[in-house]
Symmetry: C2
Subunit: 142 residues, 2 copies
Amino acid sequence: MEPRISVITLGVTDLARSFRFYRDGLGLPPTRKPEDGIVFFQTSGVTLALFPYGELADDVGPGWNLPHSRFTGITLAHNVREREDVDRLLAQAEAAGAQVIKPARDTEWGGCSGYFTDLDGYLWEVAWGAFEFHEDGALQVP
Amino acid sequence: MEPRISVITLGVTDLARSFRFYRDGLGLPPTRKPEDGIVFFQTSGVTLALFPYGELADDVGPGWNLPHSRFTGITLAHNVREREDVDRLLAQAEAAGAQVIKPARDTEWGGCSGYFTDLDGYLWEVAWGAFEFHEDGALQVP
């Protein structure tokens, strides 16, 4: 297995609404429109896909179309370049309809982070500190 | 928000066991060891992190340490370069303790894909076809 995660797909309740959240609210660059039935956002290294919840479940197989738990066990993190960007991005997400779960606060690993949930309750951490960036924006994890 | 997902964190029941699954079973390159309390795998563009389930939940906040549902609503995909790699990687994952949920089969979008769940039940799709790769291994989504 080459060291690569190609796509993260989030099953969403309302594709058009989630598309607007990620494109207009957070500013991610899409490559498709909701009319295409699936949307992709090209981020550095990994593609974020939004797909209708039931269709994603059906793609896995029969019997998978079950509601997801409040805590899915999975978080996505967006690391920012400046400490003040954590607050700024949490506020931006909230203005777009996200719920701030944990406001920005100092972490024991010497950085600062907070969490929001998107329109379907998926957890995003916004984090700053501790790690340097590669030139392409990818994180350097020591 | 710069177009970037920095880290995908999976909350795992047994950090050492999941570390071996991803390092030895799937062959991902780690940058830390379970003794460090968290492990990272450097993949192109996004970092995969494994963190004890309860600690991840606690990091989000009080009240989040709840069991996750069978279907989390989130899938991770690993796209391979050759069609036969789909079967090969599903078999490799199964040999490492994964459960093959959907064997490789042709898809309506003209490719071939299958799913496995890792040791904590997180869904991975192994996919081939339809999309080209960038030089760094990232997917080109039209």
